[in-house]
Subunit: 248 residues, 2 copies
DNA sequence: ACAAGATGTTTACGCTATATACAGTGGTGG
DNA sequence: CCACCACTGTATATAGCGTAAACATCTTGT
């Protein structure tokens, strides 16, 4: 509230709309005085887009499609959201919501980071489009995204690592979750079967070119295994971090 | 050669064109008998698309733009490439080329995996669009991609790990390279400065909400540091793998 | 020589995001 | 009270995308 609405000084057209987008993400928007009551809010729009993406995938989330969800024209959305980029940012913020309270859930940096990763993973599983949405370019972070980051960094504080190291470890763990989401997106059930069939046929014809791969497949490296991929990678990473800590 | 050209039995329209795309990737195309000589090849098209993407980014690689590079119409490309998806796959195969000979370059699984990661990282740096290109959906792997995978798996064979574990470790290391590329794509120089400025202003206003993050920034966790991010993550991961090996 | 098959162009369709111009609504200052 | 004007929503238009379909042109096997 309070801040007078600046009369839209977009000299750079779309270059410096960052502040507008940021204000949106942080909910710092002042409602207008005169004129008809808005029938929508950025949050309601984002929520509709989220349920749409959950149901039919991110690629079906177009301005037209989302607007149709409210029975309005596509251009109506631009009264609430500067553009599609910002809409996607709002979607991300919407599904992230508040991070879990790690200090309550578990004790010790390792257990806390581990539950952090599992919670984050749960979000990726619930909203498979999240990976693609955050993989797009030039992200600005909203409060929820920062809160997740804060939670992970807080868990790392008692380790005795330097600030730079803690940051790197955070990136490492966050990356592991993203990677797993990526792998899941690449190989769904059907595709995996098809890929395996075609690739094995090709490998039979070129087995001399890929000896290690051929052997790995023969040894069942690609058949679904009992070890959870998230935990496997996480354990390796955290073991490595533990080594670093012990060394200091 | 040899295989008679099937008269294009696309009943599913675009669902079962996979074999066509695969044949392209593996160079198993038979040249036609009658008709004018083709003025292009899939490889030349892909190469032009690669240099275009290197120079102006993947988003400017459109069928029209690539076709213009040869002075032909956009539709002419469809005589050589089934669609844009397959073109991008060809681009990926083109820039990957043959993996390095790790057994010659270094000895020991750790050194070999490390150089593997560095070589892969070099490719990502030379072609920043590679991340986005491989992040797209439903990839089928070409021979070069499989060759890189084979090289990494070969390096892991002397570790004594199970086939499943070796596969997981491979995914872990490959993921680390991808993650770094992702971070580089997210935060280029200019954007980083701008992000830091805006975020620090927001953090000043909400420092109570993000105590650990605020402290981390104050401690210089985000200022460019001397430790190489690729090596830092890699060292943690490989340390963790070493722990696993020792335990067995 | 002729037919067959391959190449390349033209045209068109449906889709995307969004700029622009306009119509209706309703709170507020004169 | 009423006119103004900020604000909402719509209609229209543009530029671009990938690609389907119809067509003309060229080359080669028969």
């Amino acid at each position: 509230m309070a801040r007078a609405a600046k009369p839209r000084e977009n000299k750079d057209k779309k270059a410096r709309d960052l502040p507008t987008g940021i204000a949106l993400l942080w909910g710092e928007q002042d409602q207008p005085a005169r004129g008809p009551k808005p029938s929508l809010t950025p949050q309601r729009i984002a929520q509709a887009a989220v349920t749409l993406a959950d149901a039919e995938g991110l690629e079906t989330v177009s301005m037209n499609r989302v607007a149709a969800e409210f029975g309005v024209s596509a251009m109506a959305l631009y009264r609430y959201v500067p553009g599609k980029t910002e809409l996607v940012e709002l979607m991300v913020e919407a599904v992230l919501s508040e991070p879990p309270d790690l200090s309550a859930a578990s004790s010790g940096w390792r257990a806390r980071l581990s539950t952090w990763a599992h919670r984050q993973w749960a979000v990726y599983q619930a909203h498979p489009w999240l990976l693609a949405a955050t993989a797009m370019r030039r992200q600005i972070m909203g409060p929820h995204q920062l809160a997740w980051m804060d939670a992970a960094l807080a868990a790392l504080e008692p380790t005795g690592l330097t600030a730079g190291q803690r940051h790197q470890v955070f990136l490492l763990v966050a990356g592991q979750v993203r990677n797993l989401a990526q792998q899941r997106a690449d190989f769904d059930e059907d595709h995996n079967r098809e890929w395996g069939r075609l690739t094995s046929e090709l490998l039979n014809r070129h087995s001399d070119r890929f000896p290690a791969l051929t052997k790995a497949i023969a040894d069942g490296a690609f058949t679904p295994t009992e070890l959870d991929p998230l935990d496997f990678g996480l354990d390796r990473i955290l073991d490595g971090v533990q080594v670093l800590i012990d060394r200091a």
